[in-house]
Structure formats: structure tokens, C-alpha cells
Symmetry: C4
Subunit: 218 residues, 4 copies
């Protein structure tokens, strides 16, 4: 079978390959969701006679919204990079991709709401925990979808199994990172977003365990 074509013979030569349309549609949803984050940054309401200091103060009050915007921007950007990395290995269309991919996009599309929630009530337990729980949901969908992309029948026939395993480990590291953020949240809600930085640490730990042979099954 040729690479990058549909399995169904009558689809051969379709103007937009089924797989490319899926990737394209996903890119568009990621791009819209990441750009919609800015909508939650509201211009502060001040009288035109306000002094420079008052303007600076009003902008300073937006700090949690700015931090929320930046954190969610790079979090969605990281999920997009992961989708990019996994689907680089995909060659064959399969209807089995539809559901995990729609679930991932749905979870990503919900990010602007949870970002606005955590920014509006920075440092409060319930909003922070809701944000981390939703990120955990995104991470689950991410692992599910990326595993489909690097497994038969979707993956390239000559895909290095070692590379597929690497992508799965990356997916697990993201899940562990969101769980860490959720746990820190109950210690102190202010630590929830900073704790997302643990993701690369988990990735290195999993790589270390893998090299030592402890992670045979993942």
C-alpha cells in the first residue's frame, strides 16, 4: 500500500487526503484556541483623566491574566508540538483516528474558559483545581490520540518502534506533570501553574528509567 493514501482504493488521489484534512482541521482548532486566549484579557475601565500611576496600577492588576495567557499559550503550544511530532509518523488514514482527535480538540477548545477562570480567581483552590483537572483531561486525550497516530494501522510501516515508544513516554510525562500541578494545587493554589514546569522533569525521569530498563512496558 502506498503511503499517505486512503486504504479504500476508490479514494486514491483524493484532492485533500483524508489524513491531511484531519491534520489541517486540528491545526486550525489549535490555532484558534490559542489565539482566543487573548479575548480574556480585558482592557481595564478607567476615567480618561486617570493619572499615569493609576494606569500602571491597572495594568499591574492584570498580571494574573497575563500570566494565565502566557502559561496557557505555551501549554497549548506544547500540545500542538506533540500532535505535530506524533502525526509526522502517521501515513495511513483510519476512521479510528476521528474520535480521539475530536476529544483532544474538544479539550483544547475548552482551554480559554479554564484559563479565564483561573486568571480571574488566581490563588483560589476550586478554580485552580478545575484548571488542572481540565489539563489532565487534555493530557489523557493527547496520549490516546498520539498513541493512535504512532500505532498500526495509522503509523508509517517503517516507523522505528523506539520512536513510537518515545512519543508514548512523552505523553505519560505530560499526564504526570498535570497530576503534579493538581497535587500542588491542594498545597497552595498559587503553585498550580508553576508546577506545570515539572513536565520536562518527568520526561527526563521516564527517559532515565527507560534507559535503565525499568520501563519495559511503556
Amino acid at each position: 500500500m502506498n503511503d499517505a493514501t486512503n486504504d479504500h482504493p476508490m479514494h486514491h488521489g483524493a484532492p485533500a487526503h483524508a489524513l491531511e484534512r484531519l491534520v489541517f482541521f486540528s491545526d486550525a482548532v489549535f490555532a484558534i484556541s490559542i489565539t482566543l486566549l487573548v479575548i480574556e484579557l480585558k482592557v481595564p475601565a478607567l476615567p480618561r483623566s486617570a493619572s499615569d500611576v493609576e494606569f500602571l496600577q491597572a495594568l499591574a492588576n492584570l498580571t494574573p491574566h497575563f500570566v494565565g495567557f502566557l502559561v496557557s499559550f505555551f501549554v497549548i503550544g506544547a500540545f500542538w508540538s506533540g500532535h505535530h511530532r506524533a502525526f509526522d509518523c502517521a501515513r495511513h488514514w483510519s476512521p479510528k483516528l476521528l474520535m480521539p482527535n475530536l476529544f483532544l480538540l474538544c479539550s483544547v477548545a475548552g482551554m480559554p474558559f479554564f484559563t479565564a477562570l483561573v486568571s480571574e480567581y488566581y490563588g483560589k483552590l476550586v478554580p485552580s483545581a478545575a484548571y488542572c483537572l481540565w489539563l489532565f483531561f487534555v493530557a489523557i486525550c493527547n496520549l490516546w490520540n498520539n498513541m493512535k497516530a504512532v500505532s498500526p494501522p495509522v503509523a508509517a510501516d517503517d516507523l522505528d518502534p523506539e520512536y513510537a515508544a518515545l512519543i508514548r513516554r512523552r505523553g505519560w510525562a505530560v499526564i504526570l506533570g498535570t497530576l503534579t500541578a493538581l497535587a500542588f494545587c491542594f498545597v497552595n493554589p498559587w503553585l498550580a501553574q508553576p508546577a506545570l514546569i515539572s513536565m520536562p522533569l518527568w520526561r527526563r525521569l521516564l527517559e532515565y528509567l527507560h534507559r535503565r530498563g525499568t520501563l519495559k512496558t511503556v
Copy 2:
């Protein structure tokens, strides 16, 4: 004539094939519409001093908006999948595609409004019926457009007529599903959105009738 080219000889080799641009434009409108659904999820207004229980209560009050977001996300996702499936069979550009496709996109673009309406007044007759009626309109446009995609002069010359008939039956199942939701709406508006789950049941019924030979004409 070659596949995937314009019929007009001077268009041969256009940098963006007419058909691909239509598919691309449609994907973009689907993606934007599906992602804009989140805009209707508004962060609840609470004093910063609110307790955890009050925050949980405020989030719980958003349940109808969440359900509306999820239902409409997967409904638009299903229409996108149908568009994907039908246009996989298309090979030739025809100006006859423009109108049905614009009508479909217009109906899809209106979904965020009707989703917000039904979520804001969950369980009320008129909003629920308006939502179902609009979905019925989307389903009509969907059948019209997908039938154009799998019929001459647009369809691939070697398209299996059986596959084209399958796509038409799927379009009819979606229409019957939206009519079912509309009917349930008058029984109890709370049942309108759950009744959309009847779509796959209608599809199986039509497949069954087709195999028994009862549906010769569809």
C-alpha cells in the same frame, strides 16, 4: 480528464486547485465555529472571598452550558466528518458546489448562537425547539451538499455507486435524528439534546432497510 483538476483547461496547474480551496475554506469555517462555542462559557462572577463550596456551586450551575458546549462540539464534529467523508469522493470542481457549500457553512456558523440560546434557557420549549429546527436546517444543507459531492460532475469517475448511496443514507439518518429531537422537544424540552443520540439508530435502521431491499430509491 485528470482527477483533481479544474474542468476549464486554462486552470490546469492552478497553485490552489479550486476544489481544494473549497474544502480548505470549509474546514476553516468548521474549525472556527466549533472553537467559538467556548465563548459562550462565561466565567461566573463571584466575590474573591467566596468559599470553595460557593465556587463549586457556581461551576455546577454552568452544567447546562457545559452540556451544550459538548453536544454542539460533537454535533459539528459529526457534520465535519460527514463533509470529510463525502468530499473524499469528489474529484472535479464545479461551480454548482458553491451554493450548497455556502449554505452548509452558514448553517454551521450559526450554531454557536443557538447553542448559547439553548444552554441559557435549558429545559424551555422555544429555545430547545429553535435549536432543533436550526439543526434540521444544518442537516438539510448537509444532505444537499454531500449529494452534490458524490454525484456527477463532481464525484470521482470511478466512485462506487453503492458508496454514494451510503453517504446519502447517512445524510437522511441525520435529518431523521434532528426531527426526532424536535419531536421529543414538544414532549419534554429536556429530552431534545439527548434525542440526538438517535442519529446512529436511524443510520442502522436505514442500513437494515437498504439491505432488505426496502429502500430502492434512496
Copy 3:
């Protein structure tokens, strides 16, 4: 020189051809602008205890916003079709395309605002005239941009001059249609949007005059 490549030799084989990126970027702006129209459809505010009749009345009050949404949707759709038709004839990248295309996209991006303005104050002179004037601006940019696409150095070398002239005449018909709407606006603002239907009439008139040989210069 090959079709669909950059004129600059070092660009040959670029992963995203300059012309395709321009077309793609334009499609995305058209798609976003056409889908953002729905944001102006606001869910009416009613008490949950409102009766069915009150809900129907509230929806009926949205009629101007619905009409505005539909008219602008098909107007932007028509401009997108025109862009599609003209750029089907384009083969060579030229930096001369950048400015007319950005102006067209800027004018299209402004449509949601003017649509909201005319819908909010339906039947009032100034909002209707502002809408028609902005459409006139879109139509000017449209003609400017499409003429660049079907002229050297952008157009395909073998482009039928007759087809290029047809596209120019279509651009003029759109301009005449928006001027007609603007004129009707001063007679009665309610007639402004319906008067846009004159566009196909102008197109037929120009075609008729062209065939009779009266329009040698256009």
C-alpha cells in the same frame, strides 16, 4: 519559467509557495470574518419564567440581526468566490499582490462591525449608509486585487484575455451593486440591503453591453 513557482530562482521548491501562502492566508481571513458574524447575534435576556410567547417575541425581535447575519454571510461568501475565481488564474508570485490583498482582507475583516451596526439600527440612515459605503470600499479593493491576479506578471501565461476581462466586468458589477444600495439607502434605509440583489443584474447588463460591443475598454 515554471508555473506556480517564485520568480526568484533561489525560491524554487519552497515548502509553501509564496502564492499559495497568500491564497491560504486570505482564505483564513475570509473564513474567520464570515464566522465571526455570529458573535453579533446575542442571546436575548429574559427571566427563566418567561412564557413561550415571550420567547417567540424575543426571537422575532432578533430578525434584523438575523437578516444582517445572512446578508453579510452571503456577501462575504460572494467576495470569497470572486477571490477564488480570480486567483485560479494566478500562477506567479509578485510582491505587487501584497498591498491590494491586504487592503481587501482589511475591508473584509471590518465587515462584522458594520454588520452589527446596521443590524442594531435597522432602517436608520447613517448606519445603513455606513454599511453601504464600507461595502463600496470592499468592492473597490476586490476589483483592484482581482485585476492584479489576472494581469501580468501574476496571471498564468496562457490565460484567455477574454476570461480576464470577464473577471474585471464582474468586479465592476459588484461596485455598481454597492453604489445602487448606497443610493437606495437615501430613498429608504430599509431598501439598502435588498438593493444588493442588483449585483447580478448589473453583471448581466455589463455582459449584454460587452456582447453588443459597447464595453470595448473594460
Copy 4:
């Protein structure tokens, strides 16, 4: 090594080349950000009984928002053109592109907020300075990202070093232009946006110095 493929051999023939997906994703974010600018143009609130003069006055009061919309539209358009120009020279995917490109997109995605801020408080020091500072940040990311695109290992192997230097000088001219706007801002905030017109002047100055041999290192 072939042009336009991934460096990793197993990626050869991926349905969406890694580099194309990056370019595509960037185009989408640029397009969404540029189109979202219109959301800050709010329809003025007037009684329906308002006179034509009052309507004209209300529209006239929107002038700063209109100017802000237009300036930011063409500023983002210019950054998009620069991205287009630089990535026309790119042929090889490198993970080193991810971070500078995400930073550029993040800065571009923030533009609608700063545009709304400067438009709402036109002529005030802090909002104008914040706008110019953010533009300076965009310009830094722009230079960083475009330098990656025209340098090894990303650039085409046969890329004219002179052309790569030209793109770097353009990036520097944009930075100098935003610094000029920032400086004018402290003289008179009204001059901040008009001072952006200095960008082409800086470009010509850098070209002049380059031809005279003064700018050996850039």
C-alpha cells in the same frame, strides 16, 4: 539531503511536512489575530430615536478605534509578510524553530489586547507606551525567528547569503521603528502610532549604510 523533507529519515514522505505544518499553523494564528482586531470595534449605544447628526457624531467618536484597527492590521500584515519572506528561504525542519516561532505567535496573539488598550485611551502615555513596548517585543521575536529561518540548518542550502543578510537588516529596521515609536510616545503619545511609519525609513538607512560598507557585521 532532499529539500523540504525532515532530517529524520523515517519522516520522509510525511503527509504534512513538519515545516509546512509550522508555516500553516503560523499563518492561521496571524490570520485569526488580524481578524480578531475587529472585535474591539464596538457598536455605539444610542437610542433608536437618535438623529442622523448624533449617529455621525457617535461614529466620529470611534475614530481612535478605527485608526487603531487599521494601524494594527497593517502592522500585523507587515509581520506576516516578513514571516512569509523569511520562510520562503527555509527548506529543512528543525526543532530549533519551535520556540522562536511560538514566541512570535504569542506576541502577535497579544496584539488585539494592546490595540484595544491604546484605542480606548488614545493620547495617554501609559497605554501608548505599553503598545509600543509590546510591538518592540513582537519585533524582537520577529528578528529571532526570521534569523532562524534563513540560517543553517533550516535555510535552503543554496540560499544567497546576501538575501539572508537583507532579511536580518529588515528585522533590525522593524526593531528600530518600534523604538522610535516608543521614544516619540514620551514626547507626545499622539505621535506613537504615526511614528511607526519610520520603519521603511530605517530600512532605507540600513540599506544605504550596508551599501557603503558600514554595516559589515549585520
